[in-house]
Point group: C2
Chain length 584, copies 2
Amino acid sequence: MYRTHTCGELRISHKGNEVTLSGWIQRLRKLGGMTFIDLRDRYGITQLVVDEKATEYLKATVSKLGREFVIQTNGIVLERQSKNNKIPTGEIEIDIKSIKVLNKAETPPFTIQTDTDGGDELRMKYRYLDLRRETVRENLVLRSKMAILIRNYLDSLDFIETETPVLMKSTPEGARDFVVPSRMNPGEFYALPQSPQVFKQLLMVAGFDKYYQIVKCFRDEDLRADRQPEFTQIDCEMSFVEQEDVLDAFEGLTRHLFKEIKDIDSGVFPRIPYAKAMDKYGSDKPDTRFEMLFNDITNIAKGKDFGIFNNAEYIVAITAKGAAEYSRKQLDALTNYVKRPQIGAKGLVYVKYNSDETFKSSIDKFYDSTDIEKWANQCQAEPGDLLLILSGDKFETQKQMCELRLEMGRQLELIDKTKFNPLWVTDFPLLEWDDDTQRYYAMHHPFTAPKPEDIELLENAPDKVRANAYDLVINGVEIGGGSVRIYDSALQSKMFKLLGFTEEQANSQFGFLMNAFKYGAPPHAGIAFGFDRLVSLFAGLDSIRDVIAFPKNNTGRDVMNDAPSQISDEQLKELFLRVELPKD
Amino acid sequence: MYRTHTCGELRISHKGNEVTLSGWIQRLRKLGGMTFIDLRDRYGITQLVVDEKATEYLKATVSKLGREFVIQTNGIVLERQSKNNKIPTGEIEIDIKSIKVLNKAETPPFTIQTDTDGGDELRMKYRYLDLRRETVRENLVLRSKMAILIRNYLDSLDFIETETPVLMKSTPEGARDFVVPSRMNPGEFYALPQSPQVFKQLLMVAGFDKYYQIVKCFRDEDLRADRQPEFTQIDCEMSFVEQEDVLDAFEGLTRHLFKEIKDIDSGVFPRIPYAKAMDKYGSDKPDTRFEMLFNDITNIAKGKDFGIFNNAEYIVAITAKGAAEYSRKQLDALTNYVKRPQIGAKGLVYVKYNSDETFKSSIDKFYDSTDIEKWANQCQAEPGDLLLILSGDKFETQKQMCELRLEMGRQLELIDKTKFNPLWVTDFPLLEWDDDTQRYYAMHHPFTAPKPEDIELLENAPDKVRANAYDLVINGVEIGGGSVRIYDSALQSKMFKLLGFTEEQANSQFGFLMNAFKYGAPPHAGIAFGFDRLVSLFAGLDSIRDVIAFPKNNTGRDVMNDAPSQISDEQLKELFLRVELPKD
């Protein structure tokens, strides 16, 4: 038996017990003739003491120990002289009788501590050592805890966990599928799922009624900052339901997680229609932890000699409370911030509403204080506030102002990091117009149902049609989304036509599912949450990487074991493949 | 709202209630002026009645309904005249006021009933309809139920569920890995995991202490009868444990499943060392639901003029109780059975121990009754019994006799299908000798630890070394297995040498894990259960296919959606690949 207790278990009530512990050496300190050892395992740290009076053999053993050695030790639980109330085992220490070295350790390339000296690259290469750090491990423990809470919650609602294939069919539009050559079917390929969408809809046709799965999905995309080629979804679908039923179930799930993990009662989640979210926050994933709402001043700001505003489709202002004292330097920095290529604004107009009730703006020569007072009123600004104004193409300007609002939220410290503001964004547009290809695309996917009351707009004003689609947003992060599906084949045909599919194209891409629908498809709707994202939000992390045990870097590489890698000619031959690298 | 209740929910206590139900039409019957409809959903079947006195509109609607139409209906719960006690809703029926057709259905290609008229091929092609059949769906519901029971059990033991990568590194020996070309890393490939073995051992190095995952694994093998290219494992690893701790935890898990699913108290699982299992059952996965143990009669059967026995390494007999009356035809059939190429025996010797205490055997001319009585005694045979005897190379003969024993168990109806006999097979040999390549192979894998007391045999009698490896077997089916791992690098080096690896080869194949071990590897051990196999055993099925929602056929094809398939030249080009099919 390697241990009688874990390193996180012993308390003052164990005083006098003889115990056996196993673990890693976190730290060794000599103090006079005594040696103190912090022994670590997943459950905690326990202090070991080797006394001056210890045997020479024990002292000799101890003298050869080093950081991260794995040892087994035996001793008596003592009450500590100087207690450490920062750790649960801080009232006791172990008076060591024997130590057995289970395994030696080379000096790790970085310190195994919460504040490590290891850089990102190094920690990823030695991920198995990085995972020893309490902070990193705790993220993975949280992930495990959330997974079981989610499963039990959905199980209690009668959801059936059903595994769908990982080796599936590559779809014609799936240029960014990962593909898997089949040795037994020469020249043919499977694809890894970008989502189990088709299968979950088939399960509804099959009468499974309520399906869920916490499932790996794959996307062979150029990885932006916080994407992974393989990621995990909480994937769900329900039959004989309306939008309300889905929101109910998954608001319940989310509330359950907040309660169990954070002990937060998150109440009823607000709902914001997409149009309002864009108007007030310039985003379909608004961070509502602070106000600073958008004010559309297009109508009242036009008509003077300021050409930029006069030519703008849209002029929008936010009120930064109490920021009228911003210096020239601060304002220049803000201007530079919005002009960065990632944001792309052409400039920034500001109005200081001074505490003496005068105005000072960057466009004083075009507008007098009567004009500007109107803006201030519209923006509910008060003396001491700063108005920040952007203008231009509506959609672009909304996105720019959204970034500026978030930056001001950070600068003015309006974002309470301990707060969680979940909300539903609803009533998404069904379609998006694409200027390049001059056609509509489904904003969600081609099976998303329009709102019944908007169906009559499909013919003549398709861009006005709203979808029964919804997203869960928490603190400005899109956690997931879904939609009510079209199950009526006539409506589906109309949709395909709108999306510019010929009948042939529709058949080749979706014929398989359409065919299944011929045998009696129930009304159904679904949702998927990004599990990595949800865990990282609960863990208070900005990146999903630290809630994934073995993540890949942003070129899709596992730097720890150097994957992907070349395979042998023999393997290629068995797969009937030849690699043809581009010539430099 | 599509329904107030499900189709499995209404009871006599709901009598008089107005309800709304939705579901599929299982059956339509006309009786006089009345129409009876069986409405089906996942939860059950409810009988709907459309009365003679119904409105013409309702009658017209009903006349257009067909099998598998999806309808929503509204009516009053009535007590049935003639109750059906076979279904939970059998005491009531619904007096229908209105019916709305939610979706029509074409006539399904086979009947959606427990006893369907659809052949295997057809049901696989229309798997989404096959899944509507109660028997098939119940297998998947069982799977879901077992999954959550397993997760909660392991969670209660402090196992951390940790997802390991699906896109991993292809290993040199992994000729049968599925590989995934990386677009972002031209000419390089990921591999899909055959098991998360390396990662779970890394998690132990990382101090995760207890890891589990219910995880898809992949093997690009020629599929035998009951294999799938993707399959699901319950994969576990534990630190600071010995074999006993692993067996304890997973015997507990298995017992928990038997209790919860079958209400069976399966007690303490017997343990059989590999050597004994081979001696007594000729198999490392013995079906112990019936006796008919092997009797080694090598020593007492040699020395007469029967050359076949004299030249045999091994002569083994089983006693078929009460089968002395077997006819010539039956005995010939048994001989043909063991001579089939899949079994490969050269012949079968029988001895009838007649009820008059005389013997009649196929080798009467070589042995007198005194000789044969010795055999009968050795086999504890009694008058009325039949002895069946095979001889030859020991290992081959054991395998052949194992098949014959199982066949006799079936013929004599000794196998109680309601019985579950779990057992552990332990003490597997560490190594297997391969005649073709003239070297030893690891029976389990190269990290499997030898039994400490056998380590001294490694040098001179490696084939005698037993491993700390174990399998869980239930009813002759191998549910899973695992081993204690080597964590000592000196012992590991010795193992690699024994397995004929040069240092270079060992480094290239396992260097990565060996490297991690340098930083302090704890003693650890693990196990993996085949989840598909476990569920099919609990479901009483012979095949794993029916516990998989969307299985593949034995050429690895999904006949439902025709995967794998060709991909576009554009996709291939993006991946820097060219397909080179063999010329016929």
